[in-house]
């Protein structure tokens, strides 16, 4: 039997959350004033949780490494946020959103959690509109929707290509209201470097003021980690440069189990790598796949000629193009889920059909959409017998209205006009489904330590559907955590302020200081980036879009060796007593060097293919699905939660069996 208790409430699926809210303990308003909560991270999950907790009456302290809560990387989310509003009348419902999310996650998430997420999704839209979030609207003044990969309905709300920004600014404004009331104290340019446990409970953190270098102690009755995902493990990713695993990894080292680290999402539509200098990758919203058609040349000679620069993509006729997603997955076509689209692109490029100079790119073509929209627009504008030029012009205008900012961004980076020549895209690391293990209340295995948003593992299984990250972040922060945390805090009403002059705080502070000292005293052979890039190469080549036993075993050994070298030879210039970005990076890379090892171990252990985790040894051998990922429900229908045992690769596995009472497990077919 597992020691993990998911605490999913009993009863019918649709009643679980309501029943749970009705039966958990509450803290009365007068007592909330005596309770302190620390929130680490101020993105969608952290910002919305902090605002709501403060609104309820708790004393909240927020911490972010950025100079303002508004700059958390949720801001970069482009496409949209899902909600089961069924405003389009296309048959959507809470159950369908639930079903799509469980299926999209390849049956590796909890039914109870996902149903709750679908239930509160509609509240999120109401809440955000009330806050003044300017979602896109139709001419009638009502909210507009679009469809996203992996589903057959239009349930995605959006604000052009800047949905994450608008939602985050909504949460930030809710935070500002509480800062103004004195209920939130916001610590910016601060980084959490350890969690402090007293009698087994999370009671505070050690943070570094990044401007002065000072090490500070902060106590609280509970600690919420909403510090985002760990995709920067791969060095190149669509994450912000500062995104890191440090907060959750420190919690892991102090006893919080880390779940499913190998489930990472490789997003299919990113701008391809252009050279060795590259520091990050830029995503092009998945919404582009609604109108763009993905293809590579049919003949390998054409692909070679394109790479050599002697042939242009626009010179190839329809017959000479391979729209491989439409060919392989006729039902979903270009709208297959992200993991499927990414692997299909890699398959074509590995087979030699890739198109830019590196051979690692495929086309995303809007020519057909421009013609279709142009003809439609000409018709509604009363233009009879329009010329091809007129149609193209009108069509380009429609496409610009829909995706203008994305096209502009592409043109700035690649220096090519995507209206005239197809875009080039390639998959890139984008999101981490894995994270700290949490129960239904979002509590980790450390009592009093909670994890919300991308930092936890909870709702997306082995693959996240588009426009679901924003939904989960805000669901956790606005509507779940503020209530479930009360159940725990109801036992703390008589505790009183937590003092910071205790041996536990002494020990944690000393630990942080020793580690900084150690980072500063490397031999100075190589910079932090040197190690980070090396780690990224190992991860991408051996733990990337497809994985096998041999590579994963090698990766573990290589990461172990790289970590040893790092601690001996890293070079951190300057001093620790003032602003020192190299020191910050060094601390984060040191943690990635541990996580990477656990990641590879988790991937090695999971011998099935599921969602974002594709094991070359586990593919369908025959039939219609031949060559597609083969899941193994008999042996792997569990959450892998890892307990830290001193060295990452010696972590102990705890399995939480996933129980499916409402959904029948099927092969995920998009054909």
């Amino acid at each position: 039997m597992s020691i993990l208790d998911s605490k999913i409430p009993e009863g019918p699926l649709a009643d679980k959350w309501t029943k749970h809210k009705n039966t958990i303990n509450l803290v009365n308003p007068a007592n909330k004033r005596n309770i302190d909560i620390i929130v680490v991270g101020t993105g969608l999950a952290g910002g919305s949780a902090a605002a709501t907790l403060a609104e309820l009456g708790y004393n909240v302290k927020t911490f972010c490494y950025q100079d303002s809560p508004r700059r958390a990387h949720s801001i970069a989310a482009q496409g949209g946020i899902n909600a089961a509003k069924n405003y389009q009348g296309d048959g959507d419902s809470v159950y369908r959103l639930f079903y799509d999310t469980v299926k999209g996650g390849d049956y590796r998430s909890r039914e109870g959690n996902v149903h709750r997420l679908a239930e509160v999704s509609t509240n999120i839209i109401d809440q955000c509109v009330a806050q003044g979030v300017p979602f896109a609207r139709e001419y009638g003044g009502l909210l507009d929707n679009r469809s996203f990969g992996g589903v057959l309905v239009s349930r995605t709300f959006y604000a052009k290509g800047q949905t994450g920004q608008q939602l985050l600014l909504g949460a930030y404004s809710a935070m500002n209201r509480q800062i103004n009331r004195g209920k939130i104290k916001s610590y910016t340019r601060h980084e959490m470097l350890d969690i402090v446990k007293i009698d087994g409970k999370a009671r505070g953190i050690i943070a570094r003021d990044l401007v002065t270098g000072e090490i500070e102690r902060h106590s609280a009755h509970a600690v919420v980690l909403a510090s985002g995902g760990y995709g920067n493990l791969f060095y190149l990713s669509t994450y912000a440069m500062g995104s890191n695993v440090t907060a959750t990894w420190k919690a892991h080292r102090r006893g919080a189990f880390f779940a499913n680290p190998c489930y990472t999402q490789i997003h299919p539509t990113c701008i391809p790598v252009s050279g060795d200098h590259q520091s990050k990758l830029t995503l092009m919203s998945e919404s582009l796949r609604n109108d763009g058609r993905i293809w590579v040349p049919k003949r390998i000679e054409d692909a070679e000629a394109i790479r050599a620069g002697t042939l242009k993509p626009t010179q190839l006729s329809e017959e000479e193009r391979d729209y491989y997603l439409e060919r392989r997955y006729p039902a979903f076509g270009n709208l297959v889920p992200r993991d499927v689209a990414s692997r299909a692109a890699k398959e074509r490029c590995d087979a030699g059909f890739g198109v830019n100079k590196t051979g690692e790119a495929v086309y995303l073509d809007f020519a057909a959409a421009i013609q279709r929209y142009g003809a439609e627009k000409a018709h509604t504008s009363g233009i009879h017998n329009p010329t091809k030029e007129e149609i193209t012009k009108l069509g380009e205008e429609v496409v610009e209205a829909k995706y203008g900012n994305l096209f502009q961004m592409y043109e700035k980076i690649v220096d090519e006009n995507p209206y005239k020549t197809p875009m080039m895209i390639y998959p890139a690391v984008h999101y981490a489904m894995g994270g700290l293990w949490v129960d239904y209340n979002l509590q980790t295995t450390i009592p009093g330590c909670y994890a919300a948003g991308e930092a936890n593992f909870s709702d997306h299984g082995a693959n996240r559907l588009g426009a679901s990250a924003l939904m989960q972040g805000l669901a956790d922060g606005y509507f779940v955590l503020p209530y479930t945390i009360g159940d725990y805090l109801s036992h703390d009403i008589l505790t009183g302020k937590i003092p910071t002059d205790t041996p536990e705080f002494d020990e944690a502070e000393q630990h942080v200081k020793d580690r900084i000292q150690k980072l500063m005293s490397g031999s100075g052979a190589h910079s932090v980036d040197y190690y980070h890039k090396k780690l990224g190469k190992i991860m991408w080549n051996k733990c990337g879009m497809s994985r096998n036993e041999k590579d994963l075993k090698e990766a573990i050994d290589e990461i172990t060796a790289l970590r040893e070298d790092f601690w001996k030879n890293v070079k951190v210039p300057g001093t620790a007593d003032n602003m020192n970005p190299e020191l910050e990076k060094a601390g984060r890379v040191a943690d990635f060097l541990e996580l990477g090892e656990l990641f590879a171990k988790d991937a090695l252990d999971r011998k099935e293919s599921c969602g974002g985790h594709f094991r070359e040894e586990s593919v369908e051998q025959s039939g219609e699905q031949k060559g597609e990922a083969l899941r193994d429900d008999k042996n792997f229908k569990y959450v892998a939660a890892w307990e830290y045992k001193g060295v990452p690769k010696e972590a102990k596995l705890h399995k939480e069996d996933l129980v499916f009472e409402n959904i029948e497990l099927k092969t995920r077919s998009y054909k």
Partner: protein, 248 residues
């Protein structure tokens, strides 16, 4: 390509700063401006010198943390982008490039090219929100239809990324474009009307207290704004302010 960089180096808020010359070679057109600075920093670290400190995070033009004055212009010579979206193909072999932090009394320098923009946060905290609790039972999102044009204008104002280029571009170091963008977003929406008067008064008061200058309508802020926030927002804020003041 070969370049000469003249970069502002300043140890901390109290020290005096100066421009320091750096010679660069092997810079490619496909590099972003910040990747060019990465190359410089890697060289400095390997030589045992302290790298240049500059703020950067998302590197895709949306977090708003870049604060580089490049050849005298916020975010450099190109329009409608932040410094992280500027590519080296915009420069020529042999160019000399001046790189300084955004300059304003209300934006003190922390180190080198990194500045403190917490004044912007305090302006937002003074009233840049709609007072609604997260109860989960606000009215249905489609209960209040909003004219598409108004919704689009509110969205356009809301795209401000809070970088401060407007302040850096302004000879008076005025924060009117920044403040008016938030005031406008809410003034254009029915949800924001209820508190409109209090909001504009509180935000403008805070803006003045932070030491930002006045607006003299030169329009430099609009030209340099990476998100193209329109001057109309300032006009709208002035109207809102007047209305609120008369209401007393």
């Amino acid at each position: 390509m070969k370049l000469t960089l003249k970069i502002w180096r300043q140890k901390d808020a109290k020290s005096r700063g100066e421009l320091v010359d750096y010679q660069m070679k092997g810079i490619e057109g496909d590099m972003s401006f910040l990747e060019m600075l990465d190359v410089l920093n890697e060289e400095l670290i390997n030589k045992g010198e302290e790298p240049v400190v500059f703020d950067h995070d998302c590197r895709e033009g949306i977090c708003g943390v870049c604060s580089l004055q490049i050849n005298g212009e916020p975010h450099g010579p190109d329009r409608l982008i932040t410094a992280c979206q500027l590519h080296m193909r915009k420069f020529k072999d042999g160019d000399t490039i001046f790189i300084e932090p955004f300059r304003a009394k209300a934006f003190p320098i922390i180190k080198d090219l990194m500045i403190d923009r917490s004044a912007f946060d305090r302006i937002q905290q003074a009233g840049g929100y709609i007072s609604v609790n997260t109860s989960g039972n606000t009215v249905d999102a489609n209960a209040i239809p909003i004219e598409k044009e108004k919704a689009d204008d509110a969205f356009a104002a809301a795209t401000c990324i809070g970088c401060g280029a407007c302040v850096a571009a302004c000879k008076n170091a005025s924060a009117m474009l920044f403040t008016s963008a938030k005031v406008s977003q809410y003034a254009l929406l029915p949800q924001g009307q209820v508190e409109a008067a209090d909001r504009v008064l509180a935000m403008v008061k805070q803006m003045d207290e932070e030491g930002f200058g006045n607006c003299t309508n030169t329009g430099a802020c609009e030209i340099e704004c990476p998100k193209g926030i329109s001057l109309e927002n300032i006009a709208r804020m002035n109207r809102e302010y007047l209305k609120a003041s008369l209401k007393g």
